[in-house]
Amino acid sequence: MEFAELIKTAKVENVQLSCPGLPPIKGTLCITSHHLLLSSQPGGHGEQGTVELWLLIRNVDAVEKRIASSLGTITLKCKDLKVLQLEIPGMEECLNIASSTEALSSVDSVMMMYPFFYRPQSMKLKDGWQLYPLQHYYQQIASETSAWRLSCVNGDFTICSSYPLAVIVPATVDDNVLKKAARFRQGGRFPVLSYYHKKNGTVMLRSSQPLIGPNRKRCQEDELLLSAVLDGGERGFIIDTRSAQAAKQARVMGGGTEPKSSYPRWKRLHRPLERGRPLQESFIKLVEACNDTSLSMDRWLSKLESSKWLAHVKGALSTACLAAQCMEREEACILVHGAEGTDTTLLVTALAQVILDPDCRTLTGFQGLLEREWIEAGHPFHFRCAHSAYSHARLKQEAPIFLLFLDCVWQLGHQFPFSLQFNEHLLLVLFEHTYASCYGTFLCNSEKERCLCEVKEKTHSLWSWLNQPSELKKHLNPLYTYNALVIWPSVEPQSLQLWQGLFLRWIRSSQYLDEAWAEIQRLVTNCEDAPEESAGRTLCHSQPDAAYPLTITGTANEG
């Protein structure tokens, strides 16, 4: 396929771009294989030749067009939730731009995506890719205990296609046992170590559901693997992220959950968490409610309620707290799983680590956590983030599980404003980059796919960009101090808040809040210069090179 085939009109003059809250800009619109560009022209508000918009087409979630006589209006609804309007003179041009944008934004082949073409001069390929391997995490554990080993049983991805090459397992269990246990777990996701709690040596494992099936099958190796985790008379907890009934019903389809009789030392706890389509619908409903600024108070509250988003936040945080409590207070080992073990399971294990482990609350630690618990652990980003809240496309496997995780982390940061080393801006950047990015970090569904596509060889890593000193500065929380304690959040509905910085980012002006935040930064760093922009409104998504002044801000376009 050639991109050129999809582009019928490459350039249109006199296009007006508008975005809520900003003055409209007139300019020349260009469409390239991966970007929509608009450079302003004289007579418009911006300076001549300034690139005012640099939009990654992958970021477009929905294209809506309206034609009135010779003027066409295209509304671009983006995956990062912003909404842009282009007024294009000429019906044909308008239709062409719309259909090209639609076609280019829905290219499904990973290898055709922008990260494979993006070659910034300031960065080297390979940088950032080897920063956080699981091996590194294993060395930390190995320095504390010899009870765990790194197994390469999945070295060629044949045991489990969604696991990475190496996994951490009990030292006493050999690879043959793992191979057999893997056959007893959906997708081959046998129990592996997710987190080692240094304070008391307890561990958190994760897996997928056991394939008990209607005939109540057992697997000795799986039982052996789990009991190898527990010392002597210890007992452990299994946190199943489905309801007891759903877990039982899963037996019909060959799944199920660990029966007490076969796993006598494990106590099962069921904490149903929503995933899949209901979660995606919750996201869509919330975004819809936020975008309607004319809603009466009653309608707003009832829409906020019926979206159920905050209920999902509460559910995720409570379950993560339960997991953390089992380890910290009960001093017990735990196993977390749902069905596939790639969604709610990771949500719980990753969140519990942020709550428990101060190392996960640093910028590097958090990146490592994402790398281990989301990317390497096989969260299917490509499926889950194919579309965001605006798409009219038929939903397949989309679900904002990772966004829910980010929201929960934001709630933690909100309740413990000094305990996270990174700020809201980082969470916003991560949200954007999971849906559309010029970096390869969140491409594909698993390590296996990333290997096949040679992602690590042919794309740049998001981390190497984020960790450049100039970028890093924007993502640091100036109030941070190391807090060795567990951060137990309040999960009362009165304590949870709508993440306005994300859901209302493009809807309401945050000028006064941004200024206040700048003032806080000034007070903290005690320097005279006002700090650089905060998580404001820039229309240019992940600009490729620093050569262009690409940002649109409210002030830049005045006068």
């Binding site: 409610a289 936020c290 600024t293 004319s294 809603l295 009466s296 108070m297 009653d298 309608r299 707003w300 509250l301 009832s302 906020l304 309620e305 159920k308 905050l310 209920a311 936040v313 509460k314 909100h414 309740q415 413990f416 404003p417 000094f418 305990s419 109030l479 101090t481 807090n483 304690l485 567990v486 951060i487 137990w488 959040p489 309040s490 009362e492 509905p493 009165q494 304590s495 949870l496 808040q497 709508l498 306005q500 209302l504 309401r508 002006s509 006064y512 809040l513 200024e515 206040a516 003032e519 806080i520 007070l523 903290v524 005690n526």
Partner: protein
């Protein structure tokens, strides 16, 4: 004379209403003449002023004892379990009596004695001077003058003595107009905008019925209208829902007929009455007080209570008012039924949007003194200070404070004061510890001789003002804005957790940016001071400057370290409880007694 606790019950359990663990505190409960006191086994004291008690409820007997639930006007809810039913019954009966005094002289303000000398006490009452405030606004001037029509409360006993009216309004016009207005509350000046020469005036509803007219009232409005030289029309804002205003016509009251008044633009804004507000808050508290509340029941409860809808309505009205003045340069006359509830809310919030002075600590005190206290908001009735008609109780003032809080959330740099300041004012509006908020109007306050017998709240608040400063306040920013224009899209309105759950510590953020910033901004100020001093010392001072920086850095690091060490460490703006508690402790004779035992 000493007041010993007349009731003392041992082995009482205090239960945290939201805690998920069933942990409770065992301790001793005392009743004094003014407070309920609970001292737990770790000697931590919980003081509850009898006046703060809104309701006491005895629940069905359980195996561990008799549960007693006390709900306070400052939204504290305490849940005791008293081992013997008989004791519980005694406490219950005593509290019922103590929390509902029959006459003003039983209120705490008359026995509260902070051991301050008399001249200081009197000075305290002079701290806020409304004549000064009108002068600041620019009245009297060529269009507005002080009227002596109500000097002896002869035409309106719920208004203050000093009232500002248009110069062209003659005495007969004033008297005639007051006879045509509910409770005699004729149109008077509430706020004068010096730059725009436009005014905010307030009154009660006209006694227009279906067709009645009053020439003097029409002249009065005309006089107000022409007192704004630039303008040929004025707004009349009826803050009630249209239906309510129409219903009032049947009772011989109602609203202005646009045909009878020259050049008025009439507008309803639809704020509900005190009864709707009371039951709305009731519903809100029922929801927020539910244990193990789900997000969905919380949100639907919030919706059903209508509370945020009412707050939004009040703010929207204030914005309408402020915009009319600031954008159209128009004069606005505001009224509701009696002109002391919704009218006070809208006038004061509108002024706050228009004038940066009211966004300072002193200015806010003036604003409350002017639009609430002097214009006769019935604090005594609305707060239920005495045993009276429960239907008169309504959270009108609380709504005003919540409106201000929402503004502080949207404009974090525009206010000199912080949330703790609003909470402290709310606390003392209900405490009856100071004379300011006793009674329903100025006349009543004079009769009670409050300035002779009680203390004023404002100097105490000002003494503690360090605690109430907003470290992000930017005076230039606040003054630069001609008008605060808050966004009132529904999603901007949030449940005010720090008000309605101020005593439920598990619900609050465990670390407060605010406290940290406050400490740091103080340290920065100190640093600047030190720096200046050191500069005076000369070159030799440089070394010690470094040392001083290091000291400050150390202090800064310390403030951020979780002090309790169990992860539940909890920093929140202290609502001055510790200090007030200490003061209360030292003031009450019982406490002198207790202190002597320690």
């Amino acid at each position: 004379m000493f007041f010993f606790p007349f009731l003392q019950v041992e082995q009482v359990k205090l239960i945290d209403r939201f805690s998920t663990s069933n942990k409770s505190l065992m301790g001793t409960l005392y009743l004094t003449a003014t407070h309920l006191l609970f001292i737990d086994s770790s000697q931590k004291e919980t003081w509850i002023l009898h006046h703060h008690i809104a309701a006491v409820e005895k629940l069905a007997l359980t195996t561990s004892g008799c549960p007693l639930v006390i709900q306070c006007k400052n939204f504290r809810v305490v849940h005791f379990i008293v081992p013997r039913e008989r004791d519980c019954h005694d406490i219950y009966n005593s509290l019922l009596q103590l929390s509902k005094p029959a006459s003003y002289d039983e209120l705490y303000a008359f026995s509260y004695n902070p051991k301050q000398n008399e001249s200081k006490r009197l000075q305290g009452w002079q701290l806020i001077d409304l004549a000064e405030e009108y002068k600041r606004m620019g009245v009297p001037n060529s269009n507005w003058q002080l009227s002596d029509a109500n000097r002896d409360y002869e035409i309106c006993d719920s208004y203050p003595r000093e009232l500002y009216v248009p110069r062209t309004a003659s005495k007969p016009v004033i008297v005639g107009s007051s006879k045509f207005r509910s409770k005699g509350r004729f149109p008077v000046l509430s706020y004068y905008h010096r730059d725009k020469e436009a005014a905010i005036c307030r009154c009660s509803q006209p006694l227009s019925g279906f067709s009645a007219r009053c020439l003097e009232d029409e002249n009065m409005l005309h006089a107000i209208s022409i007192a704004n030289p630039a303008h040929h029309y004025m707004y009349v804002m009826d803050t009630r829902p249209k239906l309510n205003a129409m219903a009032n016509r049947a009772a011989g009251k109602g609203y202005e007929n646009e045909d009878n008044y020259a050049n008025i633009r009439f507008q309803f804004v639809g704020i509900e009455n005190i009864h709707v507000m009371r039951s709305s808050l009731q519903k809100l508290l029922e929801v927020s007080g539910t244990k193990a509340l789900s997000v969905n029941s919380f949100l639907s409860g919030l919706e059903n209570s209508g509370w945020l809808r009412h707050i939004k309505a009040v703010l929207d009205a204030a914005i309408f008012l402020a915009k009319a003045v600031a954008v159209e340069n128009a004069t606005v006359l505001v009224h509701c039924s009696d002109g002391w509830d919704r009218t006070s809310q809208v006038c004061s919030l509108g002024s706050l949007l228009l004038d940066a002075h009211y966004r300072t600590i002193r200015g806010f005190m003036v604003l409350i003194e002017k639009d609430w206290i002097s214009f006769g908001h019935k604090f005594s009735d609305r707060c239920g200070q005495l045993d009276g008609d429960p239907k008169e109780i309504s959270p009108v003032f609380t709504q005003f404070l919540e409106g201000v809080w929402h503004l502080t959330e949207q404009f974090p740099q525009a206010f000199e004061y912080n949330e703790a300041f609003l909470l402290q004012i709310h606390e003392h509006v209900h405490s009856c510890q100071f004379g300011n908020f006793l009674g329903n109007c100025q006349k009543e306050r004079e009769e009670l001789k409050l300035k002779e017998k009680t203390y004023s709240f404002w100097p105490f608040l000002l003494d503690e003002q360090k605690k109430y400063l907003n470290p992000l306040y930017n005076q230039d920013f606040s003054q630069k804005l001609v008008l605060l224009e808050p966004n009132t899209a529904s999603f901007n309105f949030k449940f005010w957790r720090n008000m309605y759950h101020q005593f439920d510590r598990t619900m609050h953020p465990r670390q407060s940016v605010f406290n940290l910033i406050m400490t740091m901004s103080e340290q920065n100020k100190q640093l600047e001071k030190d720096f200046k001093e050191l500069e005076g010392v000369g070159v030799g001072g440089r070394m010690s400057l470094e040392r001083c920086l290091f000291k400050i850095w150390l202090g800064f690091v310390r403030t951020r370290i979780d002090p309790t060490g169990d992860g539940s460490a909890y920093h929140r703006p202290q609502h001055a409880h510790s200090v007030t508690t200490t003061r209360r402790f030292l003031c009450s004779p019982l406490n002198w007694y207790l202190a002597s035992l320690l």
